[in-house]
Amino acid sequence: MSNAISEKFTVSPIHLFFIMYVSIVDISILSFQREVAMDAGQDAWVSILLVWLSSHILVWMMFKILSNQNPVNADFVSINYAYFGKFLGACMNQAIILYFVLTAFVMYRIYLEAILVLIFPTMSLWPISLVFIVLIYYAVSGGFQTVAGLCFWAFFIIVILFPPLLVLLIPFLHPQNLLPFFDHSPMQILKSSHQMALNFYGAEVLLGIYPYIQTQAKSQKWAHIAIGSAALMFLVAMVVALLYFGQDQLHHLVWPTLKAIGMLELPLFQRLEYLVLSVWLLKTLASVGVGLWISCHSLKKLWRTKPSNNLVVILLLFIILQLFIKDPEQIITAKMLHTNIGVYFAYIYIPIVFIITMVRKKFSKG
């Protein structure tokens, strides 16, 4: 394990951008506006800026942590073993892996739920989810390069699709909706920031994939660019929703981004939300793929099992979870559970590990 990972399996630093971008921008970009605007109203964009800034700090911390490890072992499995000992480390690793599996499952299930609600209200869920699971298996079993490739395609499609839609929306925006500026108390902004943080997670995939990035020193800027552009996309989605809908309207909308897009009429197409939601399949596939790849790979490091067996087990777990999580309330519960763990993971676990790294560094020097 001491020698570097073969070039056959790694990707160049620019692909870190695609992977992180795709992990952060998930389906909540179509729906997060209501929750964030609930407390902060037209000042919701301030809370996005706050979360944006904090994410940059987190990424900076993660890079500090990772660059102090042996490049081949720079992932959370080895770090936990080194910092917390054999038993506690294994427990934490198992917990983090479960978190990644849960992330992937929530993304997968919410996407299917969105299709069920918005496109095919009478559809039976099982056939489509089985095809989806086969597709996920096919993608993840292709290895890290395939997953990274999917992230690239997903990003590519998002970039092709969304900017033109945004341009088409411009005539319908009402800039005066943003006024008055700073009309909310710091407490309200913080509350809404917390809501935003619940939707803006995913940067932690870095802890799982770092050894598979070539020339790691150059990759940090791509990670920051990914955070920046993902946050920009959230910001644009927020501002567009604020400018397009009145606030009392926004409080009642579950899918504000989709609703805004759905009003557009092109000469050949209307109801573009169908297109957006269908395309989002590829995005979901990519981010589920990243999560499951990390889980399978980390399980291999943890228990020395074969990654393909891990994948099969995890996908069976998906099917079992789907048996239990049926109605929308349960899905929301699962999502809340997952996002809360995510926030603790990002804002408590990472700083702790960061401090340990810094302390160890100091001691090893002195």
Binding site: V11, S12, I14, H15, I115, I119, F120, M123, P127, I128, V131, F132, L135, Y138, A139, G142, Q145, T146, A148, G149, L150, F152, W153, F156, E265, L266, P267, L268, F269, Q270, R271, Y274, L275, L277, S278, V279, L281, L282, L285
Partner: protein, 492 residues
């Protein structure tokens, strides 16, 4: 099963079972030489005019040893050997065996091969282009190499020879530019080719499948071409070309998905037009893949996607059709495939008639009988047309095949189903490797430097570097002239 003869005696007795095998003992030489050959493989004129007459004229010279015939036979390339495998293969490639006497295992092999029955020249028929040279390859390996070497006048164009096929014993050539092509690629091709166990190599296209990285994929992993300019272009970029004896097709690799949208014609047009036509091809392929599937998805599930005015036309054209959209599309798509398949098997004149009968009469009748909507006829024929825009025939077959599963997925889950199809396709092409190189380069893995000649064809000023993903030994193809600083208008 071993078909090789153990010794000369066995070889001759095996050959004598064939009616076209001739063995003569020459009465006019001293001692009487014994010659054997396949009448059908040798050139009779050569035999009579050169071989026989030379032997007759030099009758008075004493033949001491078999080697002496080299001295007076006006034929180059005579080989004297007692190795049975060499004798067998040469005999079957049109050499005559000359024996000192019946019991002597040493033979002189006189090349008298005939080139009858082989096309001398070829206009590119299947990869037609309006501009540019129309030189295509033929079934004869020597002619093909001649064609290549006449435009590549460098000694570092290397043709490595291999023998493949337990029955056909075909000569297979691996061509590359020494000092340009990465040695790893050459070694990989050579290793895969020598691992092949096959009886007859009918065509290079067979080798293409045998050395492919993934034999389950519908996508072609190597470019097969009969055009000289395309092969030369591949060699220049640092790819490896393979050709087998008896095939007019070269196979070049490693290839990427975007190579299949490149036509040599792009380079004979100004780069703006070249890029435009390349973009048209890519759009055509995407249209061809998804047009019928979108029709199915929209008419089955998403009527509201179509604006009202257009929807009126659509419903009006479909109102009398008694089938569900997917059946309608499948029947029509299959009909188009029938037409194409039948057209490809028929002589060209009948093929034209068929096109008229099939395309025009059948189409009109089907609409009038209300078996299909005329909007669908437009979509299906357009997408059939669009599938042929790729310059490489194999790719267009792939695209026409892939339409069917996507149509079925569209019938199951509408637009989401189509994107399931896209998902499977994307995962598949991302997983594909051609000679170990990613298939979707330069898109993924992203190599911005190689964009200059991929889905756009940039100006020759920019495309002077070889694509980096091929890891060529030398990167620079040519050095473009530096453009002088542009002067402002009306100024010197």
């Amino acid at each position: 099963m071993s078909v090789d003869a153990k010794n000369l005696e066995q070889l001759l007795s095996m050959s004598q079972q064939s009616g076209d095998f001739a063995t003569n003992t020459l009465s006019f030489t001293q001692p009487p030489l014994k010659i054997s050959y396949y009448k059908t493989l040798i050139d009779g004129k050569l035999l009579q005019q050169h071989f026989m007459s030379a032997l007759q004229n030099h009758n008075e010279i004493e033949l001491q040893r078999l080697e002496d015939i080299r001295a007076f036979l006006p034929i180059d390339g005579i080989e004297i050997t007692d190795k049975i495998d060499v004798i067998q293969s040469k005999l079957l490639k049109g050499h005559a065996i000359v024996q000192w006497n019946e019991l002597d295992p040493t033979c002189a092999l006189v090349p008298l091969a005939s080139k009858d029955g082989i096309r001398k020249t070829n206009e590119t028929e299947n990869e037609f282009s309006i501009l540019g040279p129309k030189v295509g390859f033929v079934e004869d390996l020597d002619t093909n190499l001649h064609l290549l070497r006449s435009q590549m006048n460098v000694p570092n164009l290397i043709a490595k020879e291999l023998m493949i096929g337990s029955i056909s014993k075909s000569k297979v050539m691996i061509l590359y530019l020494d000092g340009v092509t990465n040695n790893e690629n050459i070694a990989k091709v050579e290793k895969r080719l020598s691992a092949i166990d096959m009886d007859v190599i009918f065509d290079t296209l067979l080798l293409d499948q045998l050395i492919a990285d993934n034999s389950l994929s519908p996508f072609p992993l190597f470019i097969a071409t009969e055009r000289r300019d395309r092969v030369i272009y591949s060699l220049l970029l640092g790819q490896v070309a393979i050709i087998s004896e008896g095939s007019p097709y070269f196979v070049t690799g490693p290839s990427t998905l975007f190579d299949f949208f490149v036509s040599p014609e792009d380079y004979y047009l100004p780069w703006v037009l070249g890029s435009f036509f390349r973009a048209i091809r890519i759009f055509g392929v995407i249209f061809s893949l998804f047009a019928s599937a979108m029709y199915v998805a929209i008419t089955t599930y998403h009527y509201e996607v179509i604006p009202r005015d257009l929807l009126v036309r659509l419903i009006y054209s479909r109102q009398n059709v008694p089938f569900p959209p997917v059946l309608e599309v499948m029947v029509l798509e299959t009909t188009v495939e029938f037409l194409r398949e039948a057209g490809a098997r028929l002589p060209s004149r009948i093929g034209q008639t068929l096109g008229v009968v099939g395309g025009i009469i059948l189409g009109t009748a089907a609409v009038e009988a209300a078996l299909t909507s005329n909007i669908l006829i437009i979509i299906v024929s357009l997408s059939a047309l669009a599938s042929f825009v790729t310059p490489i025939y194999k790719m267009s077959s792939t695209i026409r095949f892939l339409r069917f599963p996507i149509i079925l997925l569209a019938d199951f889950w509408g637009s989401v189903g189509i994107f399931f199809g896209v998902g499977f396709l994307l995962v598949h092409i991302t997983r594909l490797r051609s000679l170990g190189y990613p298939y979707t380069v330069p898109m993924y893995p992203l190599r911005l430097k190689d964009f200059s000649d991929s889905f756009v064809r940039s100006s020759l000023q920019i495309t002077n570097m070889r694509p980096s993903y091929l890891k060529p030994v030398s990167n620079i193809r040519y050095r473009p002239k530096k453009v002088n600083k542009k002067s402002d208008f009306n100024e010197e």
